[in-house]
């Protein structure tokens, strides 16, 4: 995960290699002012042309009837392998507009990687274990990443004006749809703090036995 964030930032810098580097720091707070970890940040320059980020090869495992990790950000054109490390079979599907696919009943790694060529959020499920849910955020933004425990993401970008978008599985639609502009100017760094307007939806209950009816 961390590798792909670094890679994204690096590729973004290469894409606009003629400009001088700068640091963009985005901090996300929930509606009650606490840092929000794990939020997806994408940054797009408003001026000039930035090349699309280079596709990556990612792996999203299935461990103990859960996607591991349960959220990944990948550039458009990337491929993802979905091994099943459980002793039970899974049957993975998505009906999200950005990518509709299904992987029939399997264990291990019997299928080739799945190709994601449209930007958007892909929600993954298992047709046997209804409680399993995972997310792939497919982006064409040159800079992307996720906030750390302090609610912060930092990217090495070029100077200029940026449009920042946020996403989190528990974020309300109004917050996920909001876009924020920030200017990375002569000081060589810029900071944007976004406080969500609405509380997050409650986190999934994690402590129920798998065999229960949900």
């Amino acid at each position: 995960m961390r590798a792909s964030i670094r890679l994204g930032a690096l590729l973004g810098a290469l894409a606009c290699g003629n400009a001088r580097g700068a640091t963009l720091v985005v901090t996300v707070q929930s509606a009650d002012g606490k840092p929000l970890a794990g939020a997806v940040i994408t940054a797009r320059p408003l001026e000039g042309t930035a090349r699309r980020p280079e596709p990556i090869k990612a792996v999203m495992d299935q461990v103990n009837r859960a996607f591991e990790p349960d959220l990944m950000v990948i550039p458009v054109g990337s491929t993802v392998t979905f091994p099943n490390s459980d002793s039970v079979s899974h049957q993975i599907y998505s009906f999200s507009p950005a990518k509709r696919f299904q992987l029939p009943l399997y264990r291990g790694t019997p299928y080739p990687p799945v190709h994601f060529d449209t930007a958007g959020v892909v929600t993954l499920g298992c047709n046997i274990h209804d409680q399993m849910v995972g997310y792939l955020v497919v982006t064409d933004a040159p800079w992307y990443g996720r906030t750390d425990a302090k609610g912060t993401w930092a990217g090495e970008v070029t100077r200029g004006r940026y449009r920042i978008a946020l996403w989190h599985p528990r974020m309300r639609e109004a917050d996920a749809g909001a876009e924020h502009e920030v200017m990375v100017g002569e000081t060589g760094s810029a900071q944007l703090t976004v406080r969500l307007g609405k509380p997050l939806t409650p986190a999934p209950l994690g402590d129920r036995p798998h065999s229960w009816d949900y």
């Binding site: 079979s89 046997i128 409650p202 209950l205 402590d207 129920r208 036995p209």
Partner: protein
């Protein structure tokens, strides 16, 4: 001989499925549940009597709670089969039998919708407490009065389709679903309500089983899962979910039996039984669970056109708190059966029950439960048919030790 081979058929099918279950099997499971109990209750219907609880004072000591074998097996890509067999260690006609056995069709969700179709024998989607494997409650040993009634004499042998709109997979906070079922072979349902009224038990009548011993003056050893008139019953329900926290269910059920139908050979009567069920379950992040359920309906027979009917209603509220491997639960049940003028009060009952239980489940194999159950009821039949005082206040204390093993237990 023919009787014997009919009994062996499900066992042979189980053996074949176990043998055929290869790498893709979802698994098999065996649960053994023993009880140390103390009770001051009258004998229940399994002992030829009438009681508000499962075990009577003569059964105090060690008893089998349940021995269960279950198998879930994928059949190809989109089908699976589930078999649930149990033995209860009492005087039923068959020592072990299937409580549920069904095929499930589960195509991939498409366009935000998910379809599930079941065919076979299973419970209609009513219970909100019996959510654990084997249609057991993870909160208490004894089921609520509503779910005990379903366990004794209500089952779908037919087809059910459920269509859900998966809003939570599309950025919304909720899912909604509709369910419809069509079934037969359940025209004995209603006999127990009109005869014994409500009781709190965890005994589920298996297919082929009978309820009440031979010579029982009220239940007369009836078979709940019978078809007499060739008319299919139906049910339809709605379900709404808010995230994974709140479930609300409503169901209208009508077995559409012809109440004038009688099987003159066995004396069995078709009971026309219909009811409405409403319920909600809420779970909090702090380990709290709250369940409320209400069921209201009517059962009737009309031999020779003389209509006898028993309107009934039951409700319960349950609060549970889980911390780590420990769960404490308290439930209050209220239940009532009326009898119309023709029935002359016969079968009327009113009562309530308190259940308190502590469950310690250190891992997926072991579960220890201590339950105190108190039922107080006024039942016309106690005096009329069993020569007892109509009012009874019964208490049952149980310590259950359950061990589960198998490839599905993990």
């Amino acid at each position: 001989m023919r009787q014997g081979s009919r009994r062996a058929a499900p066992l042979l099918m189980l053996a074949w499925l176990v043998a055929a279950s290869g790498a893709r099997a979802d698994g098999w499971e065996i649960d053994l549940d023993g009880r140390l109990l103390s009770s001051d209750a009258n004998p229940s219907y399994t002992q030829g009597g009438i009681s508000g609880v499962r075990f009577d004072s003569d059964q105090s000591g060690l008893k089998l709670g349940r021995a269960r074998f279950a198998l879930t097996e994928s059949l190809g890509e989109l089908w699976s089969v589930h078999l649930d067999a149990s033995a209860w260690g009492d005087h039923d006609r068959i020592p072990a039998g299937l409580t549920e056995a069904f095929l499930q069709f589960r195509p991939y969700p498409f366009g935000g919708y998910r379809l599930r179709v079941k065919a076979g024998a299973f419970y209609p989607p009513i219970s909100l407490e019996n959510r654990a494997a084997g249609w057991e409650s993870p909160y208490t040993l004894s089921y609520s009065a509503i779910d005990s009634w379903l366990a004794i004499e209500v089952r779908t042998l037919g087809v059910e389709a459920q269509l859900d709109w998966l809003g939570t997979r599309q950025g919304h906070d909720f899912d909604v679903g509709v369910t419809g079922g069509a079934f037969g072979w359940n025209e004995g349902a209603g006999t127990f309500i009109a005869g014994d009224g409500f009781t709190l038990t965890d005994r589920q009548t298996p297919y082929g089983g009978r309820v009440g011993l031979p010579g029982d003056p009220v239940l007369m050893n009836f078979e709940p899962f019978r078809e007499l008139d060739g008319r299919a019953g139906v049910y339809g329900g709605l379900e709404a979910r808010w995230l994974d926290r709140l479930v609300v269910r409503a169901l209208r059920y009508d077995n559409r039996a012809d109440p004038t139908a009688i099987d003159y050979t066995s004396g069995a009567i078709a009971w026309e039984t219909s009811f409405t069920s409403l319920g909600a379950r809420y779970e909090s992040a702090g380990g709290w669970t709250a369940i409320a359920q209400y069921l209201e309906g009517d059962t009737a027979i009309a031999p020779d056109g003389f209509v006898l009917s028993w309107p009934f209603e039951a409700a319960y509220g349950l609060i549970a708190r889980q911390w780590g491997h420990h769960t404490l639960s308290v439930r209050y049940d209220h239940f009532q059966v009326d009898a119309n003028a023709n029935a002359g009060g016969s079968g009327a009952e009113t009562g309530h029950a308190w259940t308190a239980a502590y469950v310690y489940a250190p891992d997926e194999h072991w579960r220890f439960t201590l339950e105190w159950l108190h039922v107080a009821s006024n039942d016309y039949q106690r005096a009329e048919a069993f020569n007892l005082a109509p009012f009874a206040s019964e208490t049952q204390l149980e310590l259950a030790v359950r061990y589960a093993f198998g490839s599905a237990v993990r």
